[in-house]
């Protein structure tokens, strides 16, 4: 370990080494650890207005975590079904969106990496990237208009005679799932694309030559090779979807609340920063545990994702 740092200093020179270490350290500490530590601290204290922060009233308590479970700080008679069901639905929906993205992106990534050539490939990559120059809110509103009662999709379906009255895509969450699936699609495509592209084409041909049908080539050769990319794509999409706010706010139906919206309400409408922090921490921890569990199930190591 000591030898490593010695070598590090020799390689980069003292000034650069100090700068690198300081900036990385600053980033990790100030941008990641410190804010999260504050959140954690907040979540474990009583909810008092800012002037009383630091006073005795601002004492430590687990009441906000209990509230999430039981809907009250004292009684344990009934569960907090409202918040818990929103939480569960958010997680399930995020899984669902992740799976949709995976199903959409794997074929596209494979096609880009191994079938598309030259100009056609560049055109496809561009048409994937360019729409994301439009900002997230604008994109969400565009989806809302598209899926609205008078939107282009309803009009097209009416005109084609598939339906005889407008379908409520918003109330039925179709708009929300579409919007969320689209929002993070690049984060799914590019890790998979990178992983698939590094696969030696001869391996695909070898499997084919040995008589393998296409699906077995994917099952036995391409997917095992692309697993780290698939994992990192799924992880990012899942985390970001579970933590999304804009799309659910704009595209969600009146009855479908996203867990982040509850957190948002706690902070901004109820003025209950402590509860908001506790809920945010719960979301974070559950998401991380879920991802770690999935990685264990699919036998992926954390180090592989970073490849």
């Amino acid at each position: 370990m000591f030898a490593y740092w010695q070598n590090f200093f020799r390689k980069h020179g003292a000034a650069l080494s100090v700068f690198l270490l300081a900036s990385v350290g600053f980033w990790i500490f100030m941008m990641i650890l410190l804010p999260q530590a504050f959140m954690l601290d907040f979540s474990l204290r009583a909810n008092v207005p800012p002037p009383k922060w630091g006073s005795d009233a601002h004492h430590y308590t687990a009441e906000h975590y209990r509230y999430m479970l039981y809907g009250s700080a004292q009684s344990v008679d009934s569960y907090n079904f409202v918040d818990l069901s929103v939480f569960a639905r958010t997680i399930v929906a995020a899984i669902f969106v992740t799976l949709i993205d995976l199903a959409l992106c794997y074929p596209v990534a494979y096609y880009l990496a191994h079938a598309a050539t030259g100009g056609w490939r560049r055109l496809m990559v561009l048409s994937l990237i360019v729409p994301f120059w439009v900002n997230e809110l604008l994109r969400a509103f565009a989806f809302k208009i598209m899926f609205g009662g008078n939107g282009i999709i309803n009009n097209a379906l009416l005109w084609l005679g598939v339906i005889d009255q407008p379908y409520d895509f918003i109330r039925n969450s179709v708009a929300l799932y579409s919007g969320l699936s689209y929002a993070y699609i690049l984060l799914m495509i590019f890790p998979i694309y990178n992983a698939v592209e590094s696969l030696d084409r001869n391996q695909i041909e070898a499997a084919r030559d040995l008589g393998s049908p296409w699906w077995r080539i994917h099952k036995r050769v391409v997917i095992p090779h692309a697993k780290p990319g698939i994992t990192s794509g799924c992880t990012m999409v899942f985390m970001l979807t579970a933590g999304a706010l804009a799309a659910p706010q704009i595209l969600g139906g009146p009855s479908s609340l996203w867990f982040t919206q509850i957190i948002y309400q706690a902070f901004n409408q109820a003025g209950n920063w402590a509860r908001g922090s506790a809920y945010a921490i719960i979301l974070l921890v559950v998401c991380i545990l879920f991802v770690l569990l999935m990685m264990r199930v699919f036998k992926v190591k954390l180090g592989e994702i970073a490849r």
Binding site: N202, E205, D209, L210, G211, S212, P213, R220
Partner: protein, 385 residues
């Protein structure tokens, strides 16, 4: 025996580029057939047409008498060993080997049994549980062969499979491959740019250049009776004298060259004479066919003894030369001589019979060779050095 793999008038084009031009080849069941040619001449392309990864632009590929048009690589009775082997790095050795059986739905027990059999065949018994990355280069090579054989192909296609190995291992694997081929008795089609490999292993060799088959034959006829200047210059070493044909008959050609008037065998191609008086021609003489002739040389003792040992006695051709340099290779002496009017130094190989050569650089000598051991061919493209 029937033709197992047959190519009829096969052309392969990539846009305007012709990668294979009017290929006609007939490969018999159970033979070891090699395509030999320099890099980029279209060997891999041709092999891909046989394995089904590529459809010929024109012409017909048939295997076992069956036209292969429209049949994909996974449905053909061929197995291909790739230039880089393309073993599956995330599977164990035995899973690699039995992938073809897995595809066909064989049970695990049957696959394990087959894997052990094949591991035995390739002399790696008990190594099935290893990962591919834990094997040496030569062992990977053999696993690739086993994986292909497990598919029970009637034709095994090998794309320069030994090129990544070091010289010693390559030579060892040559023998091994040949032995495996004899044991399993299926047709091997082997691609290489290494003439040593092609000549030692093959029943027949097709020499290719720029998408054209220059000559097909067994190793002996390719080496001793080349039919084109390309083959003569590509296979083995050859000294070259260019000149103009003075006279021809069916058996011999007389060529006027800067080195003098030379007489050489008249090489036929497809039974037809290739040269007539007035044509530009190359005369090729192998280094081992050249001798020191008595006469101009002052060191006569060894020279006359070498000459006497040649079977025909008097030499048909004599060339005045000057020794530039000589290299001792243990079993051989390699002597490089300057001949006036010839650009490239003439090389002569002599078996080291124990006596010292008795000649030195700068010495004027007379080189000689018999007409039967030299060949005259129409001028044409030569293999790059």
């Amino acid at each position: 025996m029937s033709a197992d793999v047959q190519l009829d008038e096969v052309w392969i084009r990539f846009g305007d580029f012709v990668a294979a031009r009017d290929i006609n080849i007939s490969i018999r069941q159970g033979e070891f057939f090699s395509f030999l040619g320099p890099s980029g001449c279209g060997k891999t392309t041709l092999l891909r047409a046989v394995s089904g990864f590529l459809q010929p632009s024109q012409g017909r590929v048939s295997i076992g008498g069956r036209d292969m048009a429209g049949i994909g690589p996974n449905k053909r009775p061929t197995a291909l060993i790739f230039q880089n082997l393309a073993l599956f790095p995330l599977m164990t050795v035995w899973e690699n080997i039995t992938f073809a059986l897995e595809v066909r739905g064989a049970g695990r027990a049957a696959r394990r049994k087959k894997a052990e059999e094949l591991l035995e065949l390739i002399a790696l018994p008990g190594q099935g549980e290893k990962m591919v990355s834990e094997l040496s280069g030569g062992q990977r090579q053999r696993v690739a062969i086993a994986r292909a054989l497990a598919a029970e192909p009637s034709v095994l296609l090998l794309d320069e499979p030994l090129s990544a190995l070091d010289l010693k291992l390559r030579q060892h694997m040559r023998t091994e491959l040949r032995a495996i081929q004899r044991r399993v008795g299926i047709t091997f089609i082997y691609i290489t740019h290494d003439q040593g490999e092609a000549l030692t292993m093959s029943d027949h060799v097709a020499v290719m250049s720029h998408g054209v088959i220059e000559q097909v034959g067994d190793g002996n006829s390719i080496y001793n009776r080349p039919e084109s200047a390309f083959v003569a210059s590509f296979v083995g070493e050859n000294n070259l004298f260019s000149g103009t044909v003075a006279a021809t008959d069916d058996a011999y050609v007389t060529v006027d060259s800067p080195a003098g008037r030379l007489r050489a065998r008249h090489a036929m191609r497809g039974g037809k004479a290739q040269l007539a008086a007035g044509d530009s021609a190359f005369v090729f003489v192998r280094p081992e066919s050249l001798k020191f002739a008595a006469g101009a040389s002052s060191a006569s003792a060894e020279a006359s003894s070498t000459e006497a040992s040649s079977s025909t006695g008097a030499l048909d051709n004599r060339i005045g030369a000057r020794i530039h340099q000589q290299e001792f290779e243990g079993n051989f002496w390699q002597v490089f001589c300057d001949v006036d009017g010839v650009d490239k130094r003439v090389k002569l190989s002599m078996v080291n019979d124990g006596a010292s050569m008795g000649r030195g650089p700068g010495e004027e000598v007379t080189l000689g060779f018999n007409a039967d051991l030299a060949v005259a061919l129409p001028q044409g493209e030569l293999a790059a050095e």
